[in-house]
Symmetry: C2
Subunit: 640 residues, 2 copies
Amino acid sequence: MQIATPVLPSTEAVSPLSIHESTIDGGFWATMQKLNADRILPHIITWERRMGWVDNFRLSAEHHIEQRRGAVFTDSDVYKMLEAIAWELGRQPNDALQREFDDIVQWIAKAQREDGYLETSFGDTGQPARYSDLEWGHELYCCGHLLQAATARIRIGHPDCALVGVARRFADRIVEDFAPGRIERIGGHPEIETAMLEFGRATGNDAYIQAATRFINRRGHHTLADSHFGREYFQDDIPIRQATRLRGHAVRALYLTAGAIDCAVENHDDELLGIVRRQYQDTLEKRTYLTGGMGSRHSDEAFGDDYELPPDRAYCETCAGVGSIMVAWRLLLATGDLSYGNIIERTLYNVIAASPSTDGTSFFYVNPLQQRNRTHEAAPDQCSLRAQASTRAPWFEVACCPSNVSRTLGQLSAYVAVNNGNGLSLIQFMPGTIRTTLHDGGTLALRIETQYPDDGIVTITVLDAPQTAWTFSTRIPDWAGTMTVTVNGRSRTDQGAQASLTGVMPAGTTIRLEMPVAPRITYPDMHIDAVRGCAAVERGPIVYCMESIDQKLSQDLNRYRIDPQSTLTDDGRYILATGSLLNDGPTDDPTDGSADDGRLPYHDAEQHIGGQPCTLRLVPYHDWANRGPSTMRVWIPLGE
Amino acid sequence: MQIATPVLPSTEAVSPLSIHESTIDGGFWATMQKLNADRILPHIITWERRMGWVDNFRLSAEHHIEQRRGAVFTDSDVYKMLEAIAWELGRQPNDALQREFDDIVQWIAKAQREDGYLETSFGDTGQPARYSDLEWGHELYCCGHLLQAATARIRIGHPDCALVGVARRFADRIVEDFAPGRIERIGGHPEIETAMLEFGRATGNDAYIQAATRFINRRGHHTLADSHFGREYFQDDIPIRQATRLRGHAVRALYLTAGAIDCAVENHDDELLGIVRRQYQDTLEKRTYLTGGMGSRHSDEAFGDDYELPPDRAYCETCAGVGSIMVAWRLLLATGDLSYGNIIERTLYNVIAASPSTDGTSFFYVNPLQQRNRTHEAAPDQCSLRAQASTRAPWFEVACCPSNVSRTLGQLSAYVAVNNGNGLSLIQFMPGTIRTTLHDGGTLALRIETQYPDDGIVTITVLDAPQTAWTFSTRIPDWAGTMTVTVNGRSRTDQGAQASLTGVMPAGTTIRLEMPVAPRITYPDMHIDAVRGCAAVERGPIVYCMESIDQKLSQDLNRYRIDPQSTLTDDGRYILATGSLLNDGPTDDPTDGSADDGRLPYHDAEQHIGGQPCTLRLVPYHDWANRGPSTMRVWIPLGE
């Protein structure tokens, strides 16, 4: 049975809930979902129309491809926007979004060729031939996003949607064209793997699942031409089963990993699942930023080396955050290990939430942990390349990120909890209601109230439950390490990755969770050269940062030191830390008349610059750059 | 009068010597010059022929441009190779090199069009039109390197060389085509500016000097289309007189700066000279690596922000080192400030000398200060892109660096000293002989003997001198800060940037310089986030590094700490420092069975890992990676 959830394996350790079974109706993420519906999605639609990416389908239908606009992969942006609309329509009716959706789909349907092929960049007279540039052409990638949009339509209850028919015909075309004995190759940007497999799950068509499996198995055999960035860039260097780590282009690597998990699950391939699980663990241990961000390098948008985690040049593409959530969620479903919820939570609060501005009309494509310069804001009508500006931009020529954030927000309530067969396992802490059917047919309904993460208390009221014993489990966040669980007045404190209770807990039962969300200081591993001698401030799952405009004594963030013994207090607006402001030294400003003797910035003794005690003001990282250009740092040098 | 020296201003504070007046005949750099003649130059010629770049001129002459091979700018590589050959032929006769030179020049001459235009990538039937891609087409850049090769031929005494005639005709074409009222634009990669101006000096043609000045003045007015990297990338964002810093693509910025200095000097434009001088000082203070390397970013080969100096992702393109020497040398001549010799020395020993392997058959294109992984060596017949491999490569598709090193080595003895009018100013310390004519017509000849930088003693014997008082000056290296000068047994110790003696110092006089070259520990400025809590070891002008293969207890460089109180000893092969080896923690090797729990690399307390005292072995940075793949670091974390 199809339910409104993004990943629906045929077998799993725990079962996902639909966005109808689990809803969010308050707090941080309800606000984000509302922002998505009211501002982000309309903004995306406006820009994709303005850029001509929607109209490309009309031009393709009418064979006016010489007027086509945008990069080769813009079809995928339209599909991803449709997927985001689909999830939002699944969440609640919206006539305006429905009209947009229907209008766009009609043109996509008209652009589809007789034989099912559908691309505005390839295959028409005067265009490159179909599949003539599998390395960079993104045809399979675009098809994948079409299939994900169609899957969303099926899952929210519209299997008869025109887009589903279009997707089925294009999928059939791809399956046939890339069958054994035909084009035994792959696409340069993974996406078809996870998308076609999920479309197979959604349609019950095993041919799609087998095609996805073939795409996974073919990768790493050099069926793509080498690239300037090396074959590692698109994970075609070695087969996935031989790899020990995620590598190359981060979004490509994470999308591929998601597909590999899907294939492993559907094919009962525990060996592959174990391999990919270890690859992701290795990535978490050595190639992940404090924010959950992944991908260090600008030049090839790649992971970089182990422990190469520079804060200022962190790429941390927003889409890599989405990809990491995709991977972690699939591993959680496949293994039942609730601790995958830790990286999901960290990435949601510190990457996904950081991307859109508070008004939902501009976005970060890259998410660095340090900003050295005040840069200009992009004008409201200005389209950026992608990672050039260090402030949010209203739109990008490469615009994968906004719609990826949007579809994630639309699906979000599906990630709150899972059905553990005999009850529910809570993964994220958001106000809302969960109502589902247990494996024995019983109904379980919970009401969740919380101010989390502002405080650490989550109150769960059982609205409906079986008469017999059932199991309530909850993730214990890694940053907490401990949780006090109180049921009907009886408390116990659990440590580790999860807490679990089994018993008869009828309607009216109250389960109270308590976690220590006091601000805390975090230190980097000694292997991370780039932030040696620094510390960061966190509160619950939220990473904080110093933004220049909040500091009273000096706007020069280079002059601040944080006291490792600092008491940290939350004044409602800032976390306040104690530290020092170093005396005025040379600054970054060349017009300030500072010493100008041409000496290199190296000395024969350690610098000791006196300072004065001061208070450091920190704000949540996801809130930075919402008040005009400023400088920012997450990692603050240690001092008194 | 033309003499064999790369830069010959019509007015200057101090006068350059020719490579015939100043020779190097022993020590480190004589070995490098011999390597250049015997191995590097033949290697470059072999590869430029193998890649088809030489043959492109024949194909162009015969209008078979459909067979043309290589990137759009390979003509420049051939010209730069010819320039390197010219300087080497100026240094000493070499029949083999002369034959190569003559053979290549004949084809270049045949490829030149009737009207003087000369390009294998543009202007023929089936090719893009002339000047149709000034942003990326590199026509003016290629022309510039042709002019520099021709200037070298004039300067070493061959003004009648066919290449000079070819260059003159192409220069005239460019002057006319880019005259006021015609194409009032510039080229995307500066080079024509400094080259055409120097060609004007070499030919005495003021039209070239004025054309160069126009190219300088036009830049910054957006006559180039914007690029993905922004207009800053090719310094077209703002006029050079409005800029306060070097920015964008490092090689482009430095070549432009060299041209701006040339123009300022020839046009007696002290305002421009002052502006550019401050820009370079700012770059030295905030955007220069300990090695003298410049340019931090891989993505656009750019400077990056102030104090953005990551050791592992340091780009430090070899050509940027050459460009920095070009700028510093011009400023030294224009101002008489010998302290510009400091950055020249540092760059020579730690960038230029680092690029070629000890056998002269492979090269670094980028020069990072940390290498995290053992990477594969490129095979002897393998052409790399440019910066992909972290080991030296025999050749590159973008091959600007090898010939840039080669031409610099061929010119090198011209950088040893300058004529200060009433004597000589010594800038670099290399065994050799200097013989020149003072402004009053007197002859001055010095013999220099030294083991520098192995020791700090330089012995100068006056071979020939005026009967009257003359002035001997010498740079006091910045790393020394002090120098003891002994003349005929009488010593004095000077501090500051230079020492100067004026007196009657007849033939037979001995001047002895003594500098403290004991190994020392160097600390980074507090603004450099990327190497906080680390120190480096230097000895004289030479930066040292730890290479994994030299360490006895562990190959994992992450485990070593250097004692800031360490005594440093030189055992003839290594500098030995005391420090500690941390106990075995998690390593970079994913196959080592280390903890695999998926925890992020962040902790709630500072890590304190015990260790044992040990000896750190350091080698000169320029020697690293000559004994197979290894890991390396210049900056070593401080510990006991």
